[in-house]
């Protein structure tokens, strides 16, 4: 557990980066610090591993004031993933990952074995071990950055805008990967971002900072989207917050049966869903006659029953050419169909539950 108690950071030029911060980061959870530039989120993060010293107040990790004791020792016990990975360009991937174990005095062999193990954990091919960072793509470098931070198995992981320099597609896969890793490892993660979407996606709790280093709201993402504390938070979480909030509502959606056709089968009039022999959706065809593979229109996004949210259900309905969203089971087989109206009715029911 990490605690900020009355923490203020004033820089020599008089700028107040963080102003009277009181905040408790829960152990084993992902806490996201989010806000516009100059809001003190990165400064706050860097006070946890003493890269920046607070002017007033105390930061404690597991009850211990970070300013007591040795700074280097403290940092070796806290994983750190920096913007743009910050890898050592002159060290191989394996040696980059082995950095903290070697600083802790592990033998070279043990440190390298640990590095190889972590490459597998973060999904890097073993042949990359002897390459240099410049030979890797941005997304791969970020994976190395995460592996390096995890190498000595620290209970706390600090991530400073780690995915800001990679393209949206890679960023999404890195986010998924982080959530998967966190599911296995259960670290106490503090994650800094300026992207509210990233914040609500990754955070168990989200702290919204406003310019001048003041904490505006600290809540679970669903609460943040539903009940912003003030105009600033409302403006920051954005116009789409109603839509985003769908992602945090559970799904008790009634599915209707969806007739399907295979390639070569005769299709009825109107839109029909084409499936492969295992019952997995291929796309849609319109009009009668025999179904030809070339005529299949790609389908919309799929809604996985049980694991999805109202957001993915609504998206499935809205993105389907036929207007009927395709629901699939855990194996990807068609389970039924739903419409946007079904989702909106479920939303109304969920609101009524909340009000009751």
């Amino acid at each position: 557990m990490i605690e900020f108690r009355g923490v203020t950071k004033r820089f020599p030029d008089g700028t107040v980066a963080v102003d009277g911060l009181d905040l408790t980061v829960d152990a084993g959870k992902v806490t996201v610090f989010v806000g516009p530039s100059g809001c003190g989120k990165t400064t706050s993060l860097r006070m946890i591993n003493r890269m920046i010293a607070p002017t007033e107040g105390t930061v404690t990790v597991d009850g211990r004031d970070v300013m007591s004791g040795d700074a280097a020792e403290l940092r070796r016990g806290i994983g750190y993933v920096i913007q743009q990975a910050g890898l050592f360009p002159h060290k191989t991937i394996r040696d980059n990952i082995a950095t903290v174990p070697l600083l802790l005095g592990w033998s070279r062999r043990k440190a390298r074995a640990r590095a190889d193990e972590l490459m597998e954990v973060v999904g890097l091919a073993p042949e990359m071990a002897s390459r240099y960072p410049a030979q890797l793509s941005g997304g791969q470098q970020q994976r190395v950055g995460v592996a390096r931070a995890l190498a000595a198995d620290p209970p706390v992981l600090l991530m400073d805008e780690p995915f800001s320099a990679v393209d949206p597609v890679v960023r999404e896969s890195l986010q998924e990967e982080l959530l998967r890793l966190q599911g296995e490892l259960g670290k106490t993660i503090v994650f800094v971002t300026h992207d509210i979407d990233e914040a609500v996606k990754l955070g168990d709790k989200v702290a919204v900072f406003r310019t001048g280093g003041v904490l505006a709201q600290y809540d679970e993402p669903g609460v943040l989207l539903d009940r912003p504390a003030d105009g600033f938070v409302d403006g920051f979480v954005g116009r789409d917050r109603g839509y985003r909030k769908l992602g945090f509502l559970s799904d008790e959606l009634p599915l209707v049966e969806l007739p399907t056709v295979g390639v070569g089968d005769p299709a009825p009039e109107g839109w029909s869903l084409v499936v492969d022999p295992d019952g997995r959706p291929l796309g849609w065809v319109q009009g009668g006659g025999s179904v030809e593979e070339a005529a299949v229109v790609p389908g919309g996004s799929l809604y996985e029953v049980g694991s999805g949210s109202l957001r993915s259900a609504l998206d499935a309905a809205l993105s389907s050419p036929s207007g009927r969203g395709v629901a699939v089971d855990g194996d990807g087989r068609v389970a039924g169909a739903l419409s946007a109206d079904d989702v909106l009715r479920a939303l109304a029911a969920s609101r009524a539950d909340e009000a009751a």
Binding site: M51, A72, Y80, I82, G86, F88, Y132
Partner: protein
């Protein structure tokens, strides 16, 4: 020209070459050892850099012959002591390298230094295992200039009787014997080329990461 002068005097030429190498390169080594901490201090502190780098540049503008002659009075050596040349060239080396070291360390990406600090490196070890290796390419460039400059300056020492291959110039001039002067010029040139080539090689071998293709 009396070409067989060269084979008859091979021993003498070899001795002068050896002397030249020591007089030119010993100051490069000592200068490097001195310039690294000074350059580190300059890279870490803007005010200090504002003093150290210009001061080093001014040192380099002192004419070498003047320095060779003034040094004995300052450090108490005899006028014909080879130490005068070594000390003078060490001063020039430091003057050249302080800026190189400061620039090289200043060019290490701040994100990399911050990452090293956050991993738990203490400043001394961080310097040796992160900042210094990354400074090697710029440092080698500075060393090449210093080494070649020293090889050329040693010859001036011949005017005070300690000049390695430079003695071939003074001797050949006094005896009006062009072949001896020519031999001196060719030897100095070859030495400079060989040393420069060796430094390039050392630089390449010690920085394998600079030659890998980006984004394989």
């Amino acid at each position: 020209m009396v070409w067989d002068w060269i084979p008859r005097n091979l021993g003498m030429i070899g001795g002068l070459l050896g002397e030249h190498v020591v007089l030119a390169l010993l100051p490069v080594l000592i200068g490097l050892v001195l310039a690294v901490p000074i350059g580190w201090a300059a890279a870490g502190n803007r005010a200090l850099r504002g003093v150290l780098v210009p001061a080093a540049s001014v040192l380099y503008t002192i004419p070498s012959l003047a320095l060779f002659i003034v040094l004995p009075a300052i450090i108490g050596t005899r006028i014909l002591d080879p130490l005068n040349v070594v000390v003078a060239l060490t001063i020039y080396t430091v003057a050249l390298l302080v800026r190189s070291v400061a620039d090289a360390l200043g060019a290490v990406p701040s994100m990399v230094v911050a990452a090293a600090t956050a991993m738990g490196y203490r400043p001394g070890r961080r310097f040796v295992s992160v900042e210094l290796p990354l400074a090697v390419p710029v440092l080698v460039a500075g060393l090449r200039v210093a080494a070649v400059s020293n090889i050329s300056l040693v010859s001036v020492g011949a005017l005070i009787g300690v000049g390695g291959l430079g003695q071939l110039f003074t001797d050949g001039y006094q005896r009006n014997f062009p072949l001896e002067i020519l031999t001196g010029i060719v030897m100095v040139l070859l030495l400079a080329l060989v040393v420069d080539g060796l430094l390039v090689l050392i630089g390449r071998v010690s920085t394998p990461w600079t030659r890998v293709g980006a984004n394989a």
